[in-house]
């Protein structure tokens, strides 16, 4: 009898694709880097949502985090742009083609230092983009300088003592009227995946401030950006489960046990209550939560703030549904007669 090797067929998603259709090049980041974990969750989220690779673009600035789009969604177009300038590039691309979904990956230096201006204006315009900050409090590629999210009085081998208060990216996002603000931890893959899925269904800028430890330069347990600190101080606000619009909610919850956040495309983010009551649609409560978290030195994770009130940039601009990039000459160039009419104004 000839032995046969049973080959298991790879599992297909609703788009008929396997998970390997969503992978990218092998990572060149350090082994154990939080960013690699996030790349994996981006792959999982896109696969599980059955997004076709051509329907999504990936964008980044400069830094370790911004290199990572090469390591996921290899069949999607992408643009690794300039330090701190991904928001403007994303704005142009998503006006030119509003049919695309977009994931932007940035870091704490890329967002909270050089890119703070563009970040705030991205939110002000509410450009539909999943904006992930892989937040590790340190500059990795340039070997260990403090970033603007580094803890006050923290000491690093290269950079010495940091005398400044950290920028709280989630707080900045709420102040800038962002309608989807989440904080998570690279060491919590399930929460990261569910939040990314929900963010991809949000028609506006969705900010995911994900603590993503730098194992080389900033992973000592006393750092709020380390794995150890994250594990020990993490307090999930709720258990998050994303339910796409075409699926039934499978698990029965007790009444009052959950809050449902309904997203633009009909899908739902189910927030299952843990220790405390938390209403992510209350802006003041969200700010209070972040203040308390800082005072108590805890890492509060989950959907911190949600509001679908603001129009997206494409809505504000009154754009047609089609991609502007698709328009042909007959649609782009006004007719010959119109030139005579318009020049009559100048006679």
């Amino acid at each position: 009898m000839v032995a046969t090797v049973e080959t298991r067929k790879p599992k297909l998603n609703l788009a008929g694709l396997t998970k390997s259709d969503y992978t990218g090049n092998p990572t060149t980041l350090c082994a154990g880097c939080g960013h690699n974990a996030i790349s994996s969750q981006i792959i999982n989220a896109a696969y599980e949502l059955s997004i076709r690779p051509h329907e999504i673009i990936k964008l980044s600035g400069i830094g370790c985090s911004s290199k990572s789009p090469a390591y996921f969604l290899g069949k999607s177009h992408g643009f690794n742009s300039l330090h701190g300038r991904m928001p403007s590039l994303a704005t142009g691309a998503l006006v030119a083609n509003r049919t695309l979904k977009a994931i932007g990956v940035s870091g704490d230096g890329d967002t909270a230092s050089i890119g703070m201006g563009q970040f705030i204006h991205l939110l002000r315009r509410n450009v539909p983009l999943v904006y992930i900050i892989e937040n590790n409090g340190v500059y990795g590629l340039t070997k260990g300088q403090f970033s603007a999210t580094a803890d006050k009085n923290q000491e690093l081998k290269y950079a010495g003592l940091n005398p400044f208060m950290p920028v709280d990216i989630a707080l900045e996002a709420i102040a800038a009227n962002c309608g989807f603000v989440a904080r998570s931890f690279a060491g919590d893959p399930k929460q990261v995946t569910e939040l990314i899925k929900a963010a991809l269904s949000f028609e506006g800028t969705a900010v995911l401030d994900i603590i993503s430890p730098c194992v080389t330069f900033n992973n000592r347990d006393e750092s709020t950006k380390s794995y150890g600190w994250g594990r020990d101080h993490r307090e999930a606000l709720h258990d998050v489960t994303f339910v796409p619009k075409y699926a039934e909610i499978q698990v029965e919850y007790e009444p009052g046990e959950t809050t449902e956040v309904r997203l633009h495309d009909g899908s739902i983010l189910v927030l299952k209550k843990l220790e405390r009551e938390y209403d992510p649609t209350n802006r003041l409560a969200a700010i209070q939560l972040l203040e308390d978290a800082r005072a108590k030195q805890v890492l509060a994770t989950g959907l911190i703030y949600y509001s679908a009130a603001q129009a997206s940039l494409q809505e504000s601009e009154g754009l047609i549904e089609r991609a502007l990039a698709e328009l042909q000459q007959s649609e782009l160039r006004p007719a010959k007669e119109s030139l005579e009419t318009v020049l009559a104004d100048f006679r």
């Binding site: 691309a93 502007l324 328009l327 782009l332």
Partner: protein, 607 residues
């Protein structure tokens, strides 16, 4: 009423008809622009070749501003050094303005200025502006505006500018809105009637209806460029407010909805976005250009400085965008309301490392329109940023022109592969030079074919657009980019030759100096100095440029910057003839005059 309208009559001895330069001196923020434009457009409507130039301060209200209007029976529209008619409405500058008036000229002055009229070689005309305003009793907030209509009426009467032509000019200015037209015309007629009854004509200047503007238009270069961009199919324009470029974006915003509204159910097939700064403005344009839209931004020198890093990215990642630079005086903030051609070298090499940008140099409002659409074809053909260098004089002043010609070529969208193309080819490498011209094939985001994806980046890359630090990949890619920069010569507009082409002396120039140069060439010819002119319209240069330099003994290079930037570029480009090239520059913020050019070249020739 009819007696105040001018009558056609033959020119008498000593009269100067349709030839003068008038300067209106006011304080800015007083609404004098409407009055001055009314005079310019009225002359234009009477068929008289005319141009208007605003010499304004970087200020909102109160500082002196001068507007010069030139009427020219020979059709010249450049600025002139001499002024024959002064309209003096601003006391602080009166003494200086009066001193600058040519002998035999006329000075119209607001009679409340109460300043010494210490010249006996000119004619003075008092204007009772305050009294006329009092009689007109306009709403308080409109008093200054109405006051300025006073000089329009008096000057029109004395120069015989037809009041119906003035009315037509106001009709254009106010877009046919009767209320402001009537209010302003009321004051103009009142003032003209006062002049008719109280002033005796004692100067030699007047106008008479001519037929030299028939079929022509009167337009600013920024509006012309914006219209050109629209006929070039612009879908995305981003900008940040800056003098003298803001009116470019204003015109894009004004005309895009009118010209591109068809069949979109009230939705827009375009977006014009005011960015938070020029860095974001160009970043947005690059994002849109990468995604496949025809994208542009418009700015001036300080904005160009901020755009440097992104310009290098667009050059290196090979993203088509169009950038208009309406040049003003630098370095630094410089003179925001004064003109210059000082950004040439900076823009040519904008970006760190070995960048070489394509530049278009419009020399007229018609070319602003033409390059407005052509720039997109070039950008998409070459997959690179294309810069259009206009300036404040061309961009913000009114120029006479033949009507613009509708684009005479279909849009060139360049080398873009569709799903079907990819299916047929069976392979794709974003930066592989298949045709040997340095221009590679691109795909757009949203392309459904599994082979289409590539990762744009400003980092070193190989043919597949993958990150690479390999020395051979770097060299190969940069060599190809330089090959592409050479290919650009085949696509850019050719220079324009004037003169016989057989003279010994040549003059190379570009941009807004065109009108002054043409007038200077005539002047010099009358004085016995004949030159061939070559007006450059693009960088890199086409073959004719080298040939022009080779075939002339001496070639002057005229431009409005201190260092002779085009002169330097030409020396780099044709080192074998570098010693033939002589730099002639003038750079004080004021447009060149024919007299200055002719004197400079005649003096140089005598030396």
């Amino acid at each position: 009423m009819s007696e105040v309208l001018s009558l056609t009559r033959p020119k008498t001895v000593g009269e100067v008809v349709n030839d003068f330069s008038m300067m209106v001196a006011t304080a800015n923020g007083s609404g004098s622009q409407t009055s001055n434009l009314a005079l310019v457009r009225a002359l234009f409507r009477m068929g008289i070749p005319v141009s208007g130039k605003n010499l304004f301060p970087s200020n909102i209200q109160g500082l002196p501003t001068w507007y010069t209007i030139r009427a020219s029976s020979s059709g010249h529209t450049a600025r002139r050094d001499t002024v024959e008619i002064l309209v003096a409405m601003n006391a602080p500058t009166f003494a200086e303005d009066l001193a600058g008036l040519a002998s035999g000229g006329a000075c119209f002055y607001a009679d409340d200025l109460r300043l010494p009229m210490q010249r006996d070689d000119i004619v003075f005309y008092p204007m009772p502006i305050k009294e006329l305003v009092k009689q007109a009793s306009p709403p308080k907030e409109l008093k200054d505006y109405i006051a300025n209509m006073g000089y329009v009426g008096i000057v029109a009467r004395l120069l015989e500018i037809e009041l119906e032509a003035v009315r037509g000019a106001l009709d254009t200015h106010f877009g046919g809105r009767q209320k402001p037209i009537e209010m302003n015309m009321g004051m103009i007629i009142r003032a003209a009637e006062w002049a008719e009854q109280n002033l005796e004509k004692r100067d030699p200047f007047r106008v008479a209806r001519a037929h030299q503007t028939e079929g022509k238009i009167l337009i600013e270069g920024n509006t012309a460029g914006a219209l050109g961009a629209i006929y070039g199919g612009v879908s995305f324009a981003s900008w940040y407010p800056i003098t003298p470029a803001s009116s470019f974006a204003d015109a894009v915003r004004e005309y895009l909805p009118k010209l591109r509204s068809d069949g979109q159910n009230g939705k827009n097939s375009f977006a014009v976005i005011q960015a938070e700064d020029e860095i974001a403005a160009i970043g947005m344009a690059i994002g849109a250009g990468w995604a496949g839209a025809r994208a542009m931004t418009s700015t001036s020198g300080p904005g160009i400085s901020l755009m440097a890093e992104f310009a290098g990215l667009a050059f290196f990642a090979e993203v088509p965008i169009v950038v208009w630079d309406i040049q003003r005086m630098g370095p630094s903030t410089g003179l925001p309301t004064r003109t210059s051609q000082g950004d040439l070298l900076f823009v040519r090499y904008l970006g760190h490392g070995d960048t070489k940008n394509v530049i278009l140099l419009p020399g007229s409002v018609a070319e602003c329109f033409e390059f407005g659409w052509r720039a997109f074809d070039l950008a998409e053909r070459l997959q690179t940023p294309v810069f259009v260098l206009s300036d404040l004089d061309l961009g913000m002043n009114l120029w006479m022109s033949d009507p613009f010609e509708y684009p005479n070529a279909p849009m060139d969208r360049g080398k873009v592969l569709s799903e079907a193309d990819l299916e047929r080819l069976g392979q794709f490498a974003r930066y592989r030079d298949i045709d040997g011209d340095g221009i590679t094939y691109r795909t757009l985001p949203g392309n459904k074919h599994p082979l289409s994806a590539w990762f744009a980046r400003g980092t070193g890359h190989n043919e597949q657009a993958s990150y690479s630090e390999r020395p051979d990949d770097w060299e190969q890619n940069l060599t190809r980019l330089m090959r592409k920069a050479e290919t650009a010569r085949q696509y850019v507009p050719h220079p324009v030759l004037s003169g016989s082409g057989t003279e010994q002396i040549g003059l190379i120039y570009y941009g807004s100096t065109e009108s002054a140069v043409q007038e200077a060439l005539e002047r010099m010819e009358q004085g016995g100095l004949r030159l061939d002119g070559l007006r450059l319209r693009a960088v890199p240069f086409t073959g004719e440029v080298k040939e022009f330099i080779r075939s002339h003994e001496v070639v002057y290079v005229l431009e409005m910057n201190h260092d002779g930037q085009m002169h330097k570029l030409l020396q780099l480009e044709v080192p074998e003839f570098a010693t033939k090239l002589r730099s002639v520059t003038h750079n004080n913020g004021i447009p060149l005059t024919a007299r200055w050019i002719a004197t400079a070249l005649q003096t140089a020739e005598e030396d």
